[in-house]
Amino acid sequence: MPGKLKVKIVAGRHLPVMDRASDLTDAFVEVKFGNTTFKTDVYLKSLNPQWNSEWFKFEVDDEDLQDEPLQITVLDHDTYSANDAIGKVYIDIDPLLYSEAATVISGWFPIYDTIHGIRGEINVVVKVDLFNDLNRFRQSSCGVKFFCTTSIPKCYRAVIIHGFVEELVVNEDPEYQWIDRIRTPRASNEARQRLISLMSGELQRKIGLKVLEMRGNAVVGYLQCFDLEGESGLVVRAIGTACTLDKLSSPAAFLPACNSPSKEMKEIPFNEDPNPNTHSSGPSTPLKNQTYSFSPSKSYSRQSSSSDTDLSLTPKTGMGSGSAGKEGGPFKALLRQQTQSALEQREFPFFTLTAFPPGFLVHVGGVVSARSVKLLDRIHNPAFVGIMGNTRSYKLLDWNSFNSDEPETRDAWWAEIRQEIKSHAKALGCHAVVGYSESTSICEEVCILSASGTAAVLNPRFLQDGTVEGCLEQRLEENLPAGCGFCHIPYDELNMPFPAHLTYCNNCRKQKVPDVLFTTIDLPVDATVIGKGCLIQARLCRLKKKAQAEANATAISNLLPFMEYEVHTQLMNKLKLKAMNALFGLRIQITVGENMLMGLASATGVYLAALPTPGGIQIAGKTPNDGSYEQHISHMQKKINDTIAKNKELYEINPPEISEEIIGSPIPEPRQRSRLLRSQSESSDEVTELDLSHGKKDAFVLEIDDTDAMEDVHSLLTDVPPPSGFYSCNTEIMPGINNWTSEIQSLYFKLRSMIPCCLCHVNFTVSLPEDELIQVTVTAVAITFDKNQALQTTKTHAEKLLQRASTDNEELLQFPLELCSDSLPSHPFPPAKAVTVEKASPMGEGNFRNRSAPPCANSTVGVVKMTPLSFIPGAKITKYLGIINMFFIRETTSLREEGGVSGFLHAFIAEVFAMVRAHVAALGGNAVVSYIMKQCVFMENPNKNQAQCLINVSGDAVVFVRESELEVVSTPQPAASCQPSCTGGEVTT
């Protein structure tokens, strides 16, 4: 189905001086889409050219519309020599392809050059005319919406959650093609940017097709990653959760007295009601609904609104929903049929979501993870492919050297790992995995593939028709008290997959619960938490010998189990020290470097009311006869006990006294026991399961039998507490309200003016690009809260990139990372570091700016907020405009002149932010939610004064309205989706 893409180049501003003689520029623009190129006239001698071009029209297939980015190149005209490129803008036109998102992309885009950075701005207007109507259009993959958010987006409602979708695309990396030897760095960077843009377009389209096959209309929790595998190619892979989403009309619709603001009802495929009796004939505009609400009969209005929303929130099943059923019935039946067998028959019952509609999650088993070490160079070798005996890949191989066979290989790798995860989940008595994610770490030709998630039992009914009413019923049936159900063990008590100490749930006293719970998901909304949560982090660094290929891979896979074990022990110890009993949002990252492996686990610890009180930590020595040693131990024990007591106070953990008769003993003796099941495998034939429990020990005992453990205990105690007034966590919502270490110290410092505040969604990424470098990327959002603990204003996205140069010998690196990070800043070599902090603005000011500068106004720079959260506290997201997925490369050959590594990265990150904001603003949005910097690869060559950095960011562009502002902004914003009446409706909610 063809479409017509229309592009207009309006003007440029702040262009760089390209002609030294006149201090001016003769600029023109090339607009390229696919293989078609248009040019504007040359605008002579101006740094602020006004091209005001005609509409350039591209007639293209929608497949191309999805795959290709619009490429805008600004050049300086030169009569005698070749035209000089000023820079480029890539515009992803995907958001224009689904009906309810943006209709036009219009605004100022920074002109970006991979060598010089941002060089001026260009004003562009882009429109898409699709020749077919919307319904027919849905047959293609274009209509599928993508969300990075790992929960059901705020203004939608999940009708059905279909399940896991994945895809990967492989291509040759332009950086490693032979042509790279003769072309300029700029050309190769641009080739790379373009290719990745193309590949992610293709990937999205393919995933879209899968979703349509599953009869879904959206992908939630879409996570796209790049693996730069060097010579063996470039892999773009993505996972997500296919859903059928409904645009949520405001609940105010059910108040008969109020205007029914069912906006954009048109999109719902089966809400057309042929029954004239119900008065709701066809998609209702807000205007129509208004008429209804004035009708004398209350029931009528109720009917109409409930039929509008089809499977709406209202449990009232009057004529309205019945009539909706008539129309939607056959379709739904089909869906039901499809999802009947629910999860069991699915290949991978995985969900990338981390937050769920109430009632969705029934039980949580625990964290499941799988890792696998692979050698990349093997796939290079055609002989190897031959050995695999895959005739199909052979055939593909003939077509195209080695590119096409790779998806097969990679698919197989991932399939293997997913299979493993699935079996782990089964072992935990769970039939699904939630909060699922995949990652890789590549060093030379060794690649670690990791996958992790939380085994869970889901409400099967939700997966079928997914109505909330269904859930409510179900919950009534099961008679589960809210807030503890998900803690109850899903597995058979007598046949536990691992030794665990079970007790009766403190909440309902009926079901058994484990003593500790580790999960990768967000804290469920209905969970009862005592006190505040805090960030818990385990860090670990292991040395390994430099080795080649196979030997290297073997060494790594031998190390992995020990690392996992240690990370787990650390987490457990720290959790106990904080007097907490559950971890949420656990992310374990294992990074491989040339001569070391690094493990970093972050999670948010909380005290779940349902789970038993954690016991203290006891220290035992192996040589009890030594008096001074004893003394030392008892001293340490005292210190630990003090710390626990202090933490209890700090995080306000005051569990209610539990009567003994029910529980048995007030403080059940906890055992350290693993909820982590992991395994490593170098190849598919070898699967080792590892049970990390301490097994037979009665109490949680730390044994100090060697210096290692000594250090452990020390590090346990030396974790630097955050300054008062700061709380942090890595889940979306602060449990209660939150802690940390030296890396973050500087972040704390930056944000000191915002005390009291909490940092949410702290995201650590560690990479080991070279022998002596550790890169730590930290992103977080700071939220200020008032004393009533109501999250008041959000703002501020702090992003921080630490790069530590540890030029010392290997001994230094032998210590756990805590020591590393403590010692390094005081290192004679200044710790290089780039930090960008966007400051919070007081709420009043934010309001003012929003009012004075509507998102569409071209003259003023609209304010675009960026947050890694899926929501904006104190504001309501009114519209999702589409996914932002951008990839940038920046290279410099004058690193020192640009302020060294820090200056370079600082500038680059600022530029990336600027470009993301510009794109969002052009779509008519005023915020990016679920923002994540997925990749940040930095390479430098100080001798040549060169550096290169790759950054991949993504997020959802949204329009939000401040709740406090809803009334004020009743004058329609130019780009805002909701009509004034809608806004009015929302106020009453």
Binding site: Q745, V835, K839, F913
Partner: protein, 344 residues
């Protein structure tokens, strides 16, 4: 962004190490429990950010439209204001000098003399020069132009107008005699002169209207010479002033004795303004011919005011004098200037 740092880093007033030391002294480490390394890197970050901002600050409207940083308007205004702020000591050194490469070379001397870092001196000098270049050939009010192109506050825009005006007319301000005068004194005079003595005062549609003095007016000032050249007129003028001020002035006898000298001084200054060289020496002449004689006789400021008022007003009663309007345009401004310049 830390506003307290905005000053020092944008100014280039201090090196990073100084800024760190300053912050350490402010007790920030104790307050937040941060380490020195953290403070150091945080300060570095700020310097880097401001370094990136500096380019934009050269053309403040760019700062408004740029997309790289999201800065609230109030913060933008603050940054601009801080960046364009200047030191009194520095501006006194360069006021009235040609903003050329030659002067720029002398900046290290100025830096040593004033104790302001060379970097800061350069920034201030470049700011003056940049503003000068932009508004040099523009129509319309000087202050308005500066405000429009540099988004400065009213106060700062006025100061820049004075600096630009002085630089354009090259008024001598560096003489030892003039050292007692502050930048504020000169800026006050500049404003009066811009209002009354420039082209813009008569015609608001000329290029350079606020920058250059009205040549025709300066030529005409020769006509005032008759006030001192004509003996009768001078005597009549004196007797008019003396009659009116008798008993009102504490320093009456000194005034009476000095009247002819003072009047000659003031009128001769006017008559000399046809030559560029003498225009440059305007302030030197005023101080030499009027301020110093009065000061040596210990005239109180109020007496000076009374005298100058009477001195200019009495001319209207001189029947033989035909250039009343010219006299008012000259004396009106000069009176204001002299009163401002008359202090220790």
């Amino acid at each position: 962004m830390d506003c307290s740092l905005a000053g020092s880093s944008v100014h280039g007033d201090s090196r990073v190490s100084d800024a760190v030391a300053l912050r350490v002294r402010s007790g920030i480490l104790e307050q937040t429990g941060a380490t020195a390394a953290v403070l150091q890197s945080d300060t570095m970050d700020h310097y880097r950010t401001f370094h990136m901002l500096e380019r934009l600050l050269h053309a403040p409207p760019k700062l408004l439209h740029q997309l790289i940083f999201q800065i609230p308007p109030s913060r933008q205004a603050l940054l601009i204001e801080r960046y364009y702020a200047f030191d009194e000591a520095f501006v006194r050194e360069v006021l009235g000098k040609k903003l050329s490469k030659g002067t720029k070379k002398d900046l290290d001397d100025i830096s040593t003399k004033t104790g302001i870092t060379l970097k800061s001196c350069r920034r201030q000098f470049d700011n003056f020069k940049r503003v000068f270049k932009v508004v040099e050939e523009m129509r319309g009010s000087l202050v308005d132009n500066i405000q429009q192109h540099f988004l400065l506050s009213d106060r700062l825009a006025r100061d820049y107008a004075a600096i630009v005006f002085f630089a354009n007319n090259r008024f001598e301000t560096g003489k030892k005699k003039l050292q007692y005068l502050s930048f504020g004194d000169f800026a006050f005079c500049a404003e009066l002169m811009i209002q009354n003595w420039t082209l813009g005062a008569v015609d608001s549609q000329v290029d350079d209207m606020d920058m250059d003095l009205d040549k025709e007016f300066l030529q005409d000032l020769k006509e005032l010479k008759v006030l001192v050249a004509d003996k009768d007129l001078l005597d009549l003028h004196k007797s008019l002033v003396c009659t009116a001020l008798r008993g009102k002035l504490g320093v009456f006898s000194e005034m009476e004795a000095n009247f002819k000298n003072l009047s000659r001084g003031l009128v001769n200054v006017a008559a000399k303004l046809t030559h560029n060289k003498d225009v440059r020496d305007l302030f030197v002449d005023l101080v030499e011919k009027f301020v110093e004689p009065c000061r040596s006789d210990h005239w109180p400021l109020n007496d000076v005011r009374l005298f100058l008022n009477q001195y200019s007003a009495s001319v209207h009663s001189l029947d033989g004098f035909r250039h009343q309007a010219l006299w008012d345009r000259y004396m009106g401004t000069l009176r204001g200037c002299l009163l401002r310049l008359y202090h220790d």
